[in-house]
């Protein structure tokens, strides 16, 4: 490309305690292009955007705007430089008028002779000017709440365009829009691109990427996988780069396992929930690790939550040990022997201010009710036993959970569920956001758990991960989801990485 990039990042590093979030990341944005930033959960997209918008400062690396090095320290700095961001959730005031929303924070004012008051005529004119730039004709004096989400999204964009924007960052702008609204948004974005704006578009929808983007940068595991012209990167190749090439050197466990199967423990028949998951059949057996693969939004987590009763199913039922059951709450599923380690460790797992011991004990105690399951000494011994067995790095069992690193918190949560001695263990992204060594540790633990002493003693494990190599490495059987329904199931020995990728990447019907 002959033009110089308007924004360029190179060698960006960013780490948090126990986590390497970004490692040698580079990104180039040219004027007049839509650039898609793709990557799975935890690939580092949001961290990168936070670096760009000044929310985080990189540990190393350079950011240049028009060839000048910049170091935004606050979001205001980035905004003043012309790097504007529209976030997933619309951040506007629905009860104020469209014009007020567009100009809020930087109202045109009358001169001091006029009292320095807000010049409402100018506010309206300004709002109309920006909206016409986007070819959007709406009443700027009407309250924003009168308009649909897609129009509100466009008003949010208009707001960022008012002050000479050089770069527009859109973080998952379409996740709450329907198809028609997405098309309208895209028309506006193409128009802005043609006016010379550089647009960075973050999404996990493949169809939308190909409909809009000129070039694609793929991130994986906090690193830049590569930068490609959209026309030259096939869907299959893109997904391959997002989920990681299947490891050639490592023999997958699918072949190495003995072929005998345990007795079925948990069976789901037509389990579904409107808007979350189409009816799904699933069977988990003793001593078996079943992998659940698919892209973000494919229904993986939704399936896990239905199996665990965290959400209630409106179709189908589950069978536990051959008995038909319907969960009304996680409590019932836990009582029946199911454990669920959520992907959202911070919000759905860890009790950060309580000790590691209390965190480990919680599910076991909750199942028992108010009567203490064991004496304080026994609690201490149990916690210390798991700390040792899982190699949790903590000064003591009394340490507040919040002082542990992410990987060690994850292990403590695993310990919480192991302590309940479940028949079925559901692990949703157990390796997300933890460093490579902790990942390997954890996967070893998972494998050891399922095997147990003999096939019928081991537990059934449902393993969900965005990392295809991880799933392949761990699973005896693989279920692929796409568009919230099952798209393929692979038994031991019939696995072919390429066909898995094809199923994951296939165009939605």
């Amino acid at each position: 490309m002959s033009l110089a990039p308007v924004l360029a990042l190179s060698g960006i590093h960013k780490g948090f305690p126990g986590v390497k979030a970004l490692s040698d990341v580079s990104l180039r944005l040219f004027p007049g292009e839509v650039h898609a930033l793709m990557g799975q959960n935890g690939a580092g997209k949001s961290t990168l955007i936070k670096v760009l918008t000044g929310l985080f400062q990189p540990d190393a690396g350079t950011i240049t705007l028009d060839g000048q090095a910049i170091a935004p320290k606050r979001t205001e700095d980035a905004q003043d430089l012309g790097i504007r961001t529209v976030y997933q959730e619309v951040n506007l005031c629905p009860n104020l008028s469209v014009a007020e929303n567009i100009c809020a924070g930087r109202f045109p004012r009358k001169s001091w002779l006029g009292g320095g008051r807000i010049d409402w005529t100018a506010v309206r004119a300004e709002a109309r000017r920006v909206l016409s730039q986007m070819d959007l004709d709406i009443d700027v004096t009407a309250p924003l709440s009168r308009y649909s989400l897609s129009v509100q999204q466009m008003v949010a964009i208009a707001r960022t365009l008012r002050i000479s924007a050089r770069v527009l960052i859109l973080d998952e702008p379409t996740s709450s829009l329907d198809d028609a609204a997405v098309q309208r948004l895209f028309t506006v974005l193409r128009r802005l691109r043609d006016q010379g704006l550089a647009i960075l578009f973050v999404t996990h929808f493949l169809d939308q990427t190909y409909a809009l983007a000129d070039r694609i940068t793929v991130m994986r595991n906090g690193e830049t996988e590569g930068e490609y012209p959209a026309a030259e990167l096939s869907r299959l190749a893109l997904v391959n780069k997002m989920v990681g090439a299947p490891p050639d050197q490592q023999p997958t466990r699918l072949d190495s396992r003995a072929s005998q199967t345990g007795t079925p423990v948990l069976k789901a028949e037509g389990l579904g929930r409107r808007g979350a998951l189409h009816p799904l059949d699933l069977e988990l057996r003793c001593g078996e690790v079943v992998g659940l693969a698919g892209l973000l939004g494919s229904g993986r987590t939704e399936a896990a939550r239905l199996l665990f009763g965290a959400d209630s199913a409106d179709a189908g039922h589950v069978e536990m040990h051959g008995r038909s059951r319907r969960w009304h709450s996680p409590r019932e599923a836990i009582a029946a022997g199911i454990a669920f380690c959520s992907e959202d460790r911070k919000h759905e797992g860890a009790i950060l201010e309580l000790s590691v011991r209390d965190n480990i004990l919680l599910a076991l105690q909750a199942r028992a009710g108010l009567r203490l399951v064991m004496s304080r000494e026994q609690q201490q011994a149990l916690a210390e036993d798991y700390i040792k067995r899982l190699g949790i790095k903590t000064a003591s069992a009394d340490m507040p959970m919040g002082q542990l690193s992410g990987g060690n918190q994850q292990k403590a949560l695993l310990a919480r569920w192991l302590a309940t001695q479940p028949a079925v263990l559901i692990l949703d992204e157990p390796t997300r956001g933890i460093d490579v060594r902790a990942k390997e540790d954890l996967m070893d633990q998972v494998r050891a758990l399922a095997v147990g002493q003999d096939a019928d003693a081991g537990m059934a494990v449902l393993f969900i991960s965005s990392e295809l190599p991880e799933v392949l490495h761990c699973s005896d059987r693989l279920l692929v989801l796409r568009d919230r329904r099952a798209a393929g199931e692979y038994r031991r020995g019939e696995l072919d990485e390429r066909s898995v990728l094809e199923v994951i990447a296939a165009e939605s019907a």
Binding site: A335, S342, E348, A350, E353, L362, R367, L372, V373, T394
Partner: protein
Amino acid sequence: MKDAALPMPTQRVPATPLWRHPLARPLAALALLLAVAAVFVPGFFHLEIKDSHLYGSLVDILNRAAPLMLAALGMTLVIATRGIDVSVGAVVAIAGTVACVLVGSHGLAIAFAAALGAALLCGLWNGLLVSVLGLQPIIATLILMVAGRGLAQLLTDGQIITVYEPASFFWLGAGHLLGLPVSIFVVALVAGLTALLMSRTALGLFIQTVGINPVAARLAGVRTAAIVFFVYVYCSLGAGLAGLMISSNIKSADANNAGLLLELDAILAVTLGGGQLSGGKFSLAGSLIGALIIQTLTSTIYAMGVPPQVTMVVKAVVVFAVCISQSSFWSRKSA
């Protein structure tokens, strides 16, 4: 081992110095207040035995703080679940009124049981609104705060009901046991039972879990709704007992003024004791100390002869100082 040589940044020595103890600041504040009182109020620490009863400012403070301490215990648990109960004062009025209306005609046992029964109903109502219907705690309990005094006034036709007999009715609020006010024993008993309930069952763990992370609590199988329901019932029962104590002490039911603003003092006591309104970790002892701080302050100001119109301002200044000293602002600075 290779691992042992690696630095572990998450580790910190678990032994905390004495001044870092959560109760250190509330205790220091109380000690400071007592020291000030000793300087300005002659004979503040003087205790004497008259008619085989112990008299003195300190005993008086404990006695007067008793209703507040009962309310603060309940408020501690409510706040630990991220909630708040502003209906405490109204429940005090209801319980006191029910007891005073019934005690003359139906006897002490029925009157007390009915008063606590009324408080229980109030708690069930609050629990229903917050935990089952999912209303915001402050709004849910505001309903009873407003309606409760009205209900109490309906019971008394807007009059102050004075109780003349039985004399046993006055024992709870004004009687003596082993030379000390009965109210002190009641508070000790309630506090002791509550502490046992928290340590000998998993209730304390569940309450903290629900307060810190309700979503994670539910996913771990904790009966979050039941826990939230319980704390409101418990808080109202404590308020009911406080209402009995107050009406027994003043020998009357004053639907308008009994326990007026007690909920705010209770919230303040929890805060002064180190409790966070954002829920989670709680300390029953801290809240009791907080209640004592408030009562010591009030008594001292009166004893110093500060004009009543200035009292509230002085109280506000001291509370401001204590709250500021406990702000996380300082720990951030030193960290």
